[in-house]
């Protein structure tokens, strides 16, 4: 658009590069204790390590400031090794986001499966949803906050998984309302609030900061039950 290319001013003098300094509040590279369990379908150990390295770097530096070398070397591989397994950095972000979004949907489906009463199903749903976001908080932050960096095709795939998760929570609440177990002003808004409680855990959760993940999950299940004005069983 501009006919003359003005040299880009130096933005970050070497001594004050903000991203070289540790984040004061949380160790962003902490992927949680169970991250390896997230990739049952990624059979190559190198590919798994590359995704884990990428997520740590995206969380620490941001997606755009992460280079393919960061990803490769963070996985203990040579600087261009990422290209052996993934065509682009965006593909790694997509794989990580897909695993994260599919994982939480599978977790809540599994959590409710053994129960029929809406009260029990919602308790287990909120517990599983909260636990997921606490345990995989770094992965979840990347999956949530770097969505805009995905290609439209990949974004559409992730958005569809998210819609399924939102739909699942909404339908659980709706069935509870229909059966008289819950009383809410509006099913859609109640579902948004339940989802937000859990998703936002990934933003603030730090292992050891306040409550542990299991305790948090129990308390959130209790708070959600109150929020949905859960009626006693008849």
């Amino acid at each position: 658009m501009r006919p003359v290319k003005v040299p880009e001013p130096q933005e970050r003098p070497p001594m004050t590069r903000a991203t070289d300094q540790p984040a004061p509040e949380r160790p962003t590279a902490d992927l949680g204790p169970t991250v390896a369990d997230l990739f049952p379908d990624v059979t190559s150990d190198a590919a798994r390590r590359l995704i884990i390295s990428a997520v740590a770097s995206f969380a620490e530096r941001g997606y755009h400031a992460t280079t393919t070398r960061h990803i490769s070397e963070g996985a203990g591989l040579s600087s261009a090794a990422m290209y052996v397994h993934f065509p682009t950095k965006e593909q790694v972000l997509f794989e990580a986001g897909k695993v994260g979004h599919e994982g939480v949907l599978a977790a809540i489906r599994e959590a409710v499966a053994e129960h029929t009463d809406p009260r029990d199903r919602m308790r287990e749903l909120v517990r599983a949803f909260t636990l997921w976001h606490a345990r995989h908080h770094t992965m979840c932050r990347v999956a949530q906050y770097e969505l805009a960096a995905l290609s439209p095709e990949h974004h559409a795939i992730i958005a569809e998984i998210r819609r399924q998760t939102e739909h699942f929570v909404r339908e659980e609440i709706r069935r509870g309302v229909d059966s008289g177990a819950f009383v809410v002003p509006d099913v859609t808004t109640a579902a948004l609030a339940v989802l937000s409680m859990g998703i936002d855990v990934a933003r603030w959760y730090l292992p050891g900061r306040s409550v542990d993940a299991e305790q948090l999950a129990d308390r959130y299940a209790e708070l959600a039950a109150s929020m949905l004005r859960t009626r006693p069983r008849s």
Copy 2:
């Protein structure tokens, strides 16, 4: 660390630059209708426009991929104009984050000021908190998600404002519990849940997507009242 500098592989071919493509789900550059009201203390119109331009670019491209030229030209100024008003890009992020975090604290303090009953105060608090995050959703996303890019000194200032906000919400709930207005399993966890409901609005809110901001604020106030098991007035 490495003795030989390997050329950085091309990461984003020109035709597939993800950030040049519109985000499928939301117009990230939308700063909300009242963004100009956020800067009563920034007396220079150019400085205000620079902050607004920076927030739009941070939301669209991410902090690290935003250049000082993006910021200056987005404000309708020449490419190096940012430096007339701000020493660094990080300073603009800090000013935006400070305005955002101070603004929401001021908003909830003002909202409760005219009320004494904990039920009324909490309703107005949740209303104001929800409205803030809906109206200023782009600013809030930047303020929340780009915190790690701040210098330690600036991060500490923002973290202190956040602590005051969290403390304020927690103490409102505690007073309500002490007076018998609310019944919660744990004040700290209940405060986290109330804060998360509101903060996460900035992540998903899109004007015109589902409910309008006022309606959402009313429903969230009602849901929070249920969550805190608000007792009838004696």
